[in-house]
Subunit: 230 residues, 2 copies
């Protein structure tokens, strides 16, 4: 599977383009509305046939470009069944598989940042959304986030993947672009190095983060799949 | 060779960490002064022994972190012989090779943005500095930049590499993180698709870009290798 990482400077969001080199069947993970033209040009130049628009969760910090890309490609939008999305074509559950040619993308349910977080797994890489970030993890204080779920998703699910698995997050605020499961098990500042749940929870309860600036427009916009003119 | 791409948000600069997995010998390409602590922590966590600090050229838009990293690791700073650098340990020329364990990094002289641009080649990837950018190329209007040199470096040197070679630029302003030689030969907006030199030169002569904000401190700072307190 080929991987192309793209960055949205305004919202610090990583979008991923995945494709099977043989068939050119492709998926886009976490597109950003303002970058649809950029992404579509890239998709066309690479000669890709986009089949799936995969959301790691209902985002609070940017509006997805999935709806507009669906209109231009006919691809199907997928998000976890707990999201309550009425605009997605496919509501996913843990273990679901998407095929691009002979390549597979597997859904791993990894809630904690919200109640509807999916990690997308391919051979050798995990696209971890806002659950596992490089040396960090997503906040847990809104959208049905939960310290218990986050700790379980990190330590019992993601950290049990092979250590060499590449980690591709949905955001990074320090300039990291990727990591590995082995590194995060050891160096993740929230849950790495065997940190106990109580210590993890104390960290999470004292982050004192402001609400995302765009939460009031992002969540409803994402529940429309970014089709704001509907 | 393992590759880790790092981003400096303020100057849109990509820094690259390369290492040989067997020996942990490493090189850093185009570090940024303000990111030295981040990079050193990453280097220490990954257990790397930094041997070389490679500059693609004397930058005008940020100050290198090479000097401070040299002090903390003992690594040697390398930049092209035409740079006039008096702080570098190694002045390079086309064809020079750096070894990390059994892996090789080869210098390809690719002037045009300045008179001292090097591309660093490893098996399967080219770190192209400000010469070849994704769908773009560096400006040619200061620091002994030259349309003739840029066109020659792009079309006669870089575009002759194997098409599947990954391209890792020193900057990107649209959120691209990488490309391939095949894509750039076809889709580069400045010199791709067989564009004639005269057309390339007309584009370059009409960019009307402002001078980099930090040029007055960056160039002298880089001629000190970022050791500003010397």
């Amino acid at each position: 599977m080929k991987i192309r990482q793209l960055f949205d400077y305004e919202t610090w969001t990583y979008t991923y383009l995945l494709w099977d080199e043989t068939t050119k069947e492709a998926a886009v993970i976490d597109s950003v509305l303002e970058q649809v033209d950029r992404d579509m040009q890239h998709i066309e130049e690479l000669g890709l046939n986009v089949k799936y628009l995969l959301e790691t969760h209902i985002h609070a910090d940017h509006i997805t470009g999935a709806g507009p890309i669906r209109k231009r490609t006919g691809a199907k939008i997928a998000v976890h069944s707990k999201s309550g999305s009425e605009c997605a074509d496919i509501l996913t559950n843990d273990g679901d598989i998407f095929k691009l040619g002979e390549q597979e993308i597997k859904v791993m349910y990894t809630p904690g940042h919200t109640d509807n977080d999916s990690t997308y797994l391919i051979d050798g890489a995990a696209f971890t959304g806002d659950t596992l970030l490089v040396r960090d993890c997503g906040r847990t204080d809104f959208q049905l986030g939960s310290n218990e779920n986050m700790y379980h998703s990190l330590t019992e699910k993601l950290f049990t993947l092979p250590e060499e698995t590449l980690v591709f997050p949905a955001h990074d605020y320090k300039g990291f672009t990727q990591s590995t499961i082995g590194e995060e098990k050891q160096f993740n500042t929230r849950a790495g190095n065997g940190k106990a749940f109580e210590d993890f929870s104390t960290i999470m309860d004292n982050l004192n983060l402001p609400n995302p600036k765009r939460i009031d427009i992002s969540v409803p916009g994402n529940l429309q799949c970014g089709d704001l003119d509907n």
